[in-house]
Amino acid sequence: MEKILVGIKRVIDYNVRVRVKPDGSGVVTDGVKMSINPFDEIALEEALRIRERGEASEIIVVSIGSDAAQQQLRTALAMGADRAILVKEDDAMSPLSLARTFMRLIEKESPELIIMGKQAIDDDNGQTGQMLAALWGRPQATSASKLELGQGKATVTREVDAGLEIIEVDLPAVITVDLRLNEPRYVKLPDIMKAKRKPLDITSLEELGVTRSGGITPVSIAAPQERSKGVMVEDVDGLVQALKSKGMF
């Protein structure tokens, strides 16, 4: 195939312990390390492997967000993507608005495959890929842990509650990926230098003609309820006694 489009979101790094602001307006982001959403990194790695096997010729990474997301796009280019598109938008976007934006890019670029993370680890919505597939009228394969390409179709193994579900979809299609699909490569220093010369185009919702979709408003953010501190027991007898005193046995 000619093109694969990969969605990249800039999120708080997964190693950061997220703290809620005392006024409930959001979470602390000042001075916090930002990274590519880990699921999106896996999506990109898969696209790169497909290209390296000779089954695709161009990988385009797309991020929709603030100017700062250029940093994550540069990392994606250093990993091996061929070019990047930033749809510059400072306000938070709903998944449906994101899907509509991807749809405009699909009309421009005509990719055969869109790969993205099954969810972003900040808002945990897990909607954009499926919404995009719906708007596009094309197949979706979510939570992929294995992806095999055939002639005009893909066989995808999905991680589902009951085990592994295998489905076959015609291309073009939207694939969202799970953790066990692959292990993303590390970026090497020379690749970071090389990535600086790769094209990164900047566009906007207005330029693409995207109609925003709202309808759901955030009211407040709170810290979760902490579990109360438990007891430490010395030995198995203590454990048995503690269980019995709670009426468990």
Partner: protein, 314 residues
């Protein structure tokens, strides 16, 4: 008044308990009329199970050969066609619902509320973000249809004993042929289902091998528990992926949870924070699992488990 449509989850024979939990969530919306739709090739028995859930007014039986397996691309247009008559469309936040519901929402040109953990009003909900490290309250516009997934660990199952009417429906829409179900690979097990079990015993990387995980299975069987595992144990290949407990695996809320040799990464803790009693056994006294455990024991699981099993049996 709210008119609610719940998409039933099932394996072709048995209704998944997630459906009964969605009914409880829907009942919490207040002044609600609750319908359940069953998509299947032959949904007769499934519809009877759904009709028995207390609080359900009507069960819609949507039989067609294409509905034999739960393909989102096949089901979504049917749900969207039925949605016109409803103010709310709910599905479980299982892999089934997570796959299907956003596709439904987009066909309806509306956004979706993911993972409802608490209902504050007909259009106001709480949901976890940042892997449960923060709780977001959201408001859906009053004139907007609510499409949502329900976090099943947050709701009790609706009781049985109801007698809803069952009626056949055939939603008017095109069914795509671009997506095909091939097969499901699953591990047959006599143990209780991980997501609904009252007791769960989980093992971590400290088990050291797939063979040694037998210790966990044996203990679980001796107390009638289901078996789970940490992501580390799954990634190490000790157990299959469907046993993973945590934010990226299954989110569970058993009455009693045993964590053996699990350090307690945030993503694992997120999956068990609604458990009734958490018991942790770990060699490392500094393991984060002890911060959330109700009962903690610093010790070697290879010595603790056999002794515990013996003493609980006597």
């Amino acid at each position: 008044m709210s008119r609610i449509l719940i998409i039933a989850e099932h394996d072709g024979e048995t209704l998944n308990p997630s459906t009964a939990k969605c009914v409880t969530c829907a009942a919490g919306l207040g002044n609600a009329e609750i319908d359940v739709v069953v998509f299947a090739a032959d949904g007769k028995a499934l519809c009877e199970q759904a009709a028995a859930l207390k609080g359900v007014v009507r069960v819609l039986r949507a039989d067609r050969p294409e509905n034999k397996q739960p393909l989102a691309a096949v089901l979504a247009p049917q749900v969207a066609a039925l949605a016109a008559d409803y103010t709310h469309v709910l599905g479980p936040s299982s892999t089934f619902g997570k796959d299907l519901m956003p596709r439904v929402a987009a066909l309806l040109q509306t956004n979706q509320v993911s993972d409802i953990m608490q209902v504050l009003g007909s259009h106001e909900f709480r949901r976890p973000i940042y892997a449960g490290n923060a709780i977001l309250t959201v408001k859906v516009a009053d004139d907007s249809k609510v499409v949502a997934t329900v976090r099943i660990a947050s709701f009790q199952a609706a009781e049985g004993g109801g007698a809803a009417a069952v009626e056949s429906v055939s939603p008017d829409c095109d069914i795509p042929t671009h997506s095909r179900y091939v097969r499901l690979e699953t591990q047959a097990s006599d143990r209780p289902d991980l997501q609904t079990a009252a007791r769960v015993v989980s093992g971590g990387r400290a088990l050291g091998s797939a063979e040694k995980f037998k210790l966990i299975y044996d203990f679980a069987d001796s107390i009638g528990a289901s078996v789970g595992a940490s992501r580390a144990a799954v990634d190490a290949g000790y157990v299959p992926n469907d046993m993973q407990v945590g934010q990226t695996g299954k989110i569970i809320a058993p009455d009693l949870y045993f964590a053996f040799g699990i350090s307690g990464a945030i993503q694992h803790l997120t999956g068990i924070k609604d458990a009734g009693t958490i018991v942790a056994v770990n060699k490392d006294a500094e393991a984060p699992i002890f911060e959330v455990a109700d009962i903690g024991l610093v010790g070697d699981l290879f010595e603790v488990i056999p002794e515990l099993q013996k003493k609980l049996a006597s």
